[in-house]
């Protein structure tokens, strides 16, 4: 409320915008306060539910004494106890209106670009997913090119040299020297990968 009062002292032309921003910030903070409780609740739920999904289908063993379920059951039970204690303390703080300090988030919230981070994660997942389809040479070069652009590099020479030389060096090191069977891709991509490997003298 004090922040909203403070916002009322600013010029009328952008007062509404400022108040909206403060309300938005308030909502974000309120949601952030729920994160520790939600994490604890999620872990508690997982610890309670997972024992029922330990063995798939009809594979449940019939062993007396310490069977294959003994250790995971014990670990999950302890996990449930710990997350229940954590959840209880979070709920108690929420009820009292206090701010939880259980999770120590990094102090770089103002300088952090969440949109950029999410795009980065999407790029990494896409790279991993496309790796077996298009093969390592193409996926690696494509990923390095897109990642450099995403990272803010615009120099054409850098955008050309980093993916090509980088991919060639990695191929030589891992497929040539360490003989690691990295994916060559499927169909036409396989033929392309083989051609690249022949060009580099690896095949």
């Amino acid at each position: 409320m004090a922040m909203i009062e403070k916002a009322r002292n600013v010029p009328a032309s952008w007062r509404d915008e400022k108040v909206d921003a403060i309300h938005h910030e308030g909502r974000t903070k309120a949601l952030a306060r729920l994160v520790p409780a939600a994490t604890a609740a999620g872990l508690l739920l997982a610890a309670l539910v997972l024992p029922y999904y330990m063995f798939s289908g009809d594979r449940r063993p019939e062993i007396s004494g310490l069977g294959p379920d003994a250790w995971p059951s014990m670990v999950l039970m302890l996990l449930a106890i710990c997350s229940a204690i954590w959840l209880a303390s979070e709920v108690r703080l929420l009820v009292k209106g206090r701010i939880s300090t259980s999770l120590a988030a990094p102090q770089d919230e103002n300088a952090y670009h969440y949109g950029k981070a999410l795009v980065g994660i999407a790029l990494v997942i896409a790279f991993g997913r496309l790796l077996p389809v298009v093969g390592f040479p193409l996926a690696c070069a494509g990923f390095l090119l897109i990642w450099c652009v995403y990272g803010g590099l615009r120099n054409p020479a850098v955008l050309l040299l980093v993916p090509t030389i980088g991919t060639a060096a990695l191929l030589w090191m891992f497929m040539g020297l360490a003989l690691m069977p990295l994916s060559r891709g499927m169909g036409g991509f396989d033929r392309f990968s083989v051609a690249v490997l022949r060009l580099l003298g690896i095949y």
């Binding site: 520790p36 994490t39 604890a40 872990l43 610890a47 997972l50 999904y53 330990m54 063995f55 798939s56 289908g57 594979r59 063993p61 062993i63 310490l66 069977g67 294959p68 995971p72 670990v75 999950l76 302890l78 996990l79 710990c82 997350s83 954590w86 259980s102 999770l103 120590a104 988030a105 990094p106 300088a111 670009h113 969440y114 950029k116 981070a117 980065g120 994660i121 990494v124 997942i125 790279f127 991993g128 997913r129 790796l131 077996p132 990923f143 390095l144 990642w147 995403y150 990272g151 590099l153 850098v158 980093v162 980088g166 990695l170 891992f174 360490a178 003989l179 690691m180 990295l182 994916s183």
Partner: protein, 498 residues
């Protein structure tokens, strides 16, 4: 006197040009392999094994020993520079080492790490030379209950890294242990939590989890915060660690070395529990323990000394009893057996010159490691001058290759990506990821030792408390837990109104 004579003979053999070069090449291979996340030094040793066919047994052991010594340290280079541990044992190096890098003290951190590692390794190599027999006798008394107790001590020491948040640290550790139960169980071969997916039945590898949690989140953060990891010019006076800096952490190095020698000699324990326990103990003992995690030199030096101290110690049961205590020493055993040499007490009588050449080579390798470590770190330091976008792109590619290389299986890449996304989310909300990784590493070990100990004792659970060494270690674990939790408990008690 006899031992000194034999050792001098060993030095003479190890300083022959061929042998000397073999150690250096092994060291460089090990440091580079260790520094690359996922391409562990154990993989490098396995890949190097065929090359040893062409060597005699002494050169083969010098080569593999060099990779082993260099690789155990190498993992800390990437841990300190980019917060991605090259090997599981380098995990503690991310806590204070990377914090130093963020302060612009990357060279200082690397100098302290390599010196502490070299000192730890050197002392353990000397221990291997002079105290093999009593340590081998001590190691022989260990069986499944003792292995379980030692693993529990490792798990308990994780509480010490909790920053006044023991419940959340324990939750993270247990979540990791739960992930570690995925796959076939060690006693009955029954698949758990596979959800009908055949690839999951073979389990989730801790290396894959570690790469995902640390590398992906770190890389995304590197770009999303426009962070610059290059050493700052304003910190040039702190560029390298001086002798007084090293002298100031002598206590931490000594304690770390002691812990590493004790843990390393236990077959199956290895460098990771050694480094974690050393960090936990140092956090409690050191006057600056409360500042650990913010870039304290002792927090880096102790686990570094401990993990390299396990190298010489792990060779005690290998050479004296023929028992490999880790994957690395198992490869060394394979190399010896391929050459027709059976390690054990008879080896000291049949071929003492070879044994003492290995001892001398271990001592030399640890001294040379300072040069090799600094050299490779210099190359990595130069790489860090590249724009963060390029650096981050290559870290992603190397990390995914590392995940793939664990079993040459694309499924591991997918697991790595899932844990990458989870790791990023954990980092943003501040949920500790290090205990989770340690849970994934130590949980399966604890399960295997627990089940086999109980099975061997015909379901008698008291076996852990009736055997003196096991009971002592468990008692120490309990004391350590209470010792670690005491500051938190004390502050809670003070806060309570009378």
């Amino acid at each position: 006197m006899h031992t000194i004579d034999l050792l001098m003979g060993g030095f003479a053999s190890a300083f022959e040009i061929g042998a000397f070069l073999t150690v250096i090449v092994g060291l460089l291979v090990g440091v580079v392999a260790g520094a690359l996340p996922g391409i562990s030094f154990v993989n490098a040793m396995a890949m190097a094994l065929p090359f040893t066919y062409a060597m005699d047994v002494t050169h083969a052991m010098l080569f593999l020993g060099g990779i082993y010594v260099g690789g155990v340290f190498g993992g800390s280079i990437s841990a300190i520079m980019i917060n991605v541990p090259g090997t599981p044992a380098s995990l503690p190096a991310t806590w204070d080492g990377y914090a130093m890098t963020r302060k612009g003290q990357v060279k200082r951190a690397l100098t302290i790490a390599v010196t502490a590692s070299a000192v730890g390794g050197l002392i353990s190599a000397l221990m291997l030379t002079f105290l093999s027999a009593p340590f081998a006798t001590f190691a022989m008394k260990f069986s499944q209950p003792e292995f379980f107790a030692a693993t529990i001590l490792g798990l308990v020491s994780v509480i010490a890294i909790a920053k006044d948040r023991p419940v959340i640290t324990l939750t993270s550790l247990l979540a990791g242990m739960a992930i570690g139960t995925v796959g076939v169980d060690p006693l009955y071969g029954q698949a758990r939590f596979s959800f009908g997916i055949s690839e999951i039945e073979s389990g989730i590898r801790f290396v894959v989890v570690m790469i995902g949690l640390f590398a992906i989140g770190e890389v995304v953060d590197l770009v999303a915060t426009d962070r610059d990891l290059r050493p700052r010019k304003s910190d040039s006076k702190l560029a390298g660690a001086s002798f007084s800096d090293i002298w100031n952490v002598r206590g931490a190095i000594a304690r770390g070395t002691g812990v590493g020698c004790m843990i390393g000699v236990i077959p199956g324990a290895g460098a990771t529990p050694g480094a974690v326990i050393a960090y936990g103990i140092e956090k409690q003992v050191n006057p600056r323990g409360k500042e650990f995690g913010t870039g304290v030199e002792a927090g880096l030096a102790a686990p570094e000394a401990a993990k390299n101290a396990t190298t010489g110690a792990a060779m005690v049961p290998l050479l004296t009893l023929g028992i490999p205590g880790s994957a690395a020493t198992a490869i060394m055993l394979a190399a010896m057996m391929l050459q027709g040499v059976n390690p054990g007490p008879l080896l000291f009588i049949m071929d003492p010159s070879m044994v003492y050449t290995i001892f001398a080579a271990m001592i030399i390798a640890n001294i040379l490691m300072i040069g090799a470590g600094v050299g490779v770190a210099q190359v990595f330091s130069t790489l860090m001058r590249t724009p963060p976008a390029i650096l981050a792109g290559f870290i992603v590619v190397l990390s995914l290759i590392g995940a793939y290389g664990v079993r040459n299986n694309i499924f591991d890449v997918y697991v790595c990506l899932i844990f990458g996304a989870i790791g990023w989310a954990m980092k943003r909300v501040g949920f500790p990821s290090a205990p989770l990784v340690l849970g994934v590493i130590l949980g399966p070990l604890a399960e295997r030792y627990f089940l086999t100990a109980v099975a061997n004792s015909r379901q008698d659970y008291s076996v852990f408390f009736t055997r003196p060494i096991s009971a002592t270690i468990l008692f120490l674990a309990l004391l350590f837990a209470l010792w670690s939790l005491w500051p938190t408990l004390k502050s809670r008690i003070k806060r309570q109104p009378a």
